[in-house]
């Protein structure tokens, strides 16, 4: 416990190290310098090893992986494994379904949440605080508490089994509004809205021409958050997609695993195909995402 976190030191405080006399042996100092690298390196290996090993398994035969000693390098069986995945599940169909759901959910959440959050952050109206407190209270209740009636409702209106059923529940996500409101309070100066009002902009044009352009980075963050969650969601699609021909990627992947759980190479090929596109897109696009995601907890 004590050996590592003591190295906690503000990033900007570097030059002070030489001014403050610290009695340390050279060995101790060298250890202090090396230890963070070792820890971070270990963290990187643990975070990324599963991806490497997934790909190794997906490119070999199950027999080659599950013998002793196992094969640790890439093989040549990827094509075969992928073809067997495509034969067992409707991979591209379910991926298309997932894409449709994730894109629509993202678009709807951004529109609805930014409009509501903009109103909460920048306008006063009777009942505002009560309404917002109710929203925060719901944020703490487990979403699963609503699943049973949601399913009953979807069955009643005939949406069970249809992708439509996946679109509305994410909209009721209080986190989006909460985060967006915090963001807009900081990002949009009141003067800008006042100026627009004096120039004769109505409410909607204040939102559209002043609010939206200013909060584009915030929209990018919330968009990625909603998209990733919709892409990876499992419980609700599993419950509501009662038609086995019409699944999302995660449910199809779980089915592949259930049907062929010992054919590890083939199942892993499916997992790689389901995971790698999103992980790659995330690494390439999400430069600011992580900073935004963690900032919400600290300020707020």
């Amino acid at each position: 416990m004590t050996s590592t976190p003591v190295r906690a030191r503000p990033a900007g405080g570097a030059p002070d190290r030489d001014r403050v006399p610290v009695e340390r042996s050279t060995l101790g100092r060298r250890l202090r310098g090396v230890l963070p690298h070792v820890l971070l390196g270990t963290g990187v290996v643990v975070s990324l090893f599963p991806f490497y090993w997934m790909i190794v398994m997906a490119t070999n035969t199950t027999e080659a992986i599950y013998r002793f000693p196992p094969k640790l390098t890439l093989g040549s069986q990827l094509g075969t494994n992928v073809r067997r995945v495509l034969d067992s599940i409707d991979f591209f169909g379910s991926m298309l379904n997932t894409l449709i759901v994730a894109c629509s959910a993202t678009f709807l959440v951004l529109l609805v949440d930014s409009l509501a959050a903009f109103t909460f952050a920048k306008y006063r109206f009777p009942g505002r605080n009560v309404l917002f407190t109710v929203l925060l209270g719901m944020y703490l209740l487990p979403t699963q508490l609503a699943i049973l009636p949601q399913f009953v409702l979807m069955s009643h209106i005939g949406w069970a089994g249809s992708l439509k059923a996946l679109l509305l529940p994410p909209l009721a996500n209080a986190f989006g509004i909460f985060w967006m409101r915090q963001y807009i309070m900081r990002a949009v100066p009141d003067e800008l809205i006042d100026a627009a009002r004096i120039d004769g902009c109505g409410f909607l044009r204040q939102y559209w021409h002043v609010g939206l352009p200013t909060i584009r980075p915030g929209l990018a963050f919330l968009g990625i958050y909603v998209f990733v969650n919709a892409w990876n969601d499992y419980f609700w699609p599993l419950v509501v997609l009662v038609n086995p021909d019409h699944l999302t990627l995660q449910v199809a992947l779980a089915q592949l695993n259930t049907a062929h759980s010992t054919d590890f190479s083939m199942v892993m090929a499916g997992a790689v195909m389901a995971v790698v596109p999103l992980a790659l897109a995330f690494v390439l696009l999400a430069r600011n995402f992580v900073a935004d995601a963690t900032r919400g907890a600290v300020r707020g």
Partner: protein, 327 residues
């Protein structure tokens, strides 16, 4: 309501905002409520969905918990029978035990490792952008794929984990057959997914601690251990509280991991959650009762029990992390 966030609350530039809100509040006393129709219209789409798909269902779940209902036929009011059955149902208590054990096995190592990683990142002077992205990748990976992967590496005597044990001369472990190792594997999966996320939150907290505090402490002759326990840890407390609460709320709802690993047996054995039912978490039990057995009333009772458990854990953790100071 959201303690972790409230703790970090900070006065924002008072000038313009206050002036505006004062003026606005005077205005608002004069204007009739219906003149705010634009504002209400703007928030109405969210609240319509919110009431329809969140608030009303939560209340309806409570109502169902007092009924006997298979989702199709007539509801039959049974009072507290579902809850009476619940407290005598050994499988329910097993699922509570499994949920709590998995949560403990996952949360404490996760938050400790996250603090270690955050401190290591904070000690570096150059940019930590690469680490940030890398440590976040497990969190955007689908739990289904991760669960399949963990099953593959821990399974049988030939998985890479047992192969490594074999190479090191250690005895092989039946990871997926022993109740305790099953819970351990599920906890490790959660740790893998959430450690980086928590580390980045801690990093943001560490970077928000003013440099001057450390300088003053060092000039006063405090050593590194004293600085950590007297400055870093107390100032990080609101952030730690936030991570503990998030981990409690998400960790006690674990479902996908055991469902993907052991849910498939449900067809042959409706109560199954893996060997010894060690992977049967409360959410998985709820899913099986409600959607496999069509026992909606009992499912609703289970999910409300889970909600109360989460609430109790949040309050207990809040007390512990808050410690002696009541501000």
């Amino acid at each position: 309501m959201t303690p972790g966030r409230a703790g970090g609350g900070r006065a924002r530039a008072p000038g313009a905002a206050t002036r505006r809100s004062l003026r606005a509040s005077k205005e608002h006393r004069r204007r009739p409520v219906r003149s705010y129709w634009r504002e209400y219209l703007a928030i109405s789409p969210f609240y319509l969905v919110f009431v329809g798909f969140s608030l009303a269902p939560v209340i309806f779940t409570l109502y169902i918990a007092f009924q006997r209902w298979d989702g199709l036929g007539e509801m039959q009011f049974v009072g507290l029978d579902q809850f009476r059955f619940l407290v005598k149902d050994p499988t329910f208590w097993l699922s509570v035990w499994n949920t709590v054990v998995i949560w403990v096995l996952a949360t404490f190592p996760m938050l400790f490792l996250a603090l270690v990683l955050a401190s290591a990142m904070n000690s570096r002077r150059r940019s930590v952008g690469f680490y940030r992205i890398t440590f976040f990748v497990p969190n955007v990976t689908s739990i289904v794929a991760a669960a399949i992967f963990f099953f593959a590496i821990f399974s049988s005597q030939y998985g890479i984990v047992n192969a490594t044990f074999h190479a090191l001369g250690l005895p092989e472990v039946g990871w997926m057959t022993n109740p305790w190792t099953i819970r351990l594997v599920i906890a490790m999966l959660m740790t893998w997914q959430w450690t980086g996320y928590n580390a980045l939150i801690y990093l943001a907290g560490l970077q928000a601690i003013p440099t001057e505090l450390y300088e003053a402490a060092r000039i006063d002759g405090a050593n590194a251990v004293q600085i950590f326990f007297r400055i870093t840890l107390p100032l990080l407390r609101p952030i730690i509280l936030f991570t503990v609460i998030v981990s409690t709320v998400t960790g006690l709802q674990s479902f996908t991991e055991p469902q993907v690993l052991f849910g498939s047996n449900a067809a042959t054995n409706p109560n199954s959650g893996g060997p010894g039912q060690a992977g049967l978490t409360m959410m998985l039990y709820f899913y099986q009762q409600a959607f496999t057995n069509n026992d909606y009333g009992y499912g609703a009772a289970i999910v409300w029990a889970l909600c109360l458990l989460i609430l109790a854990f949040v309050v207990i953790n809040w007390r512990i992390v808050r410690g002696g100071d009541d501000d």
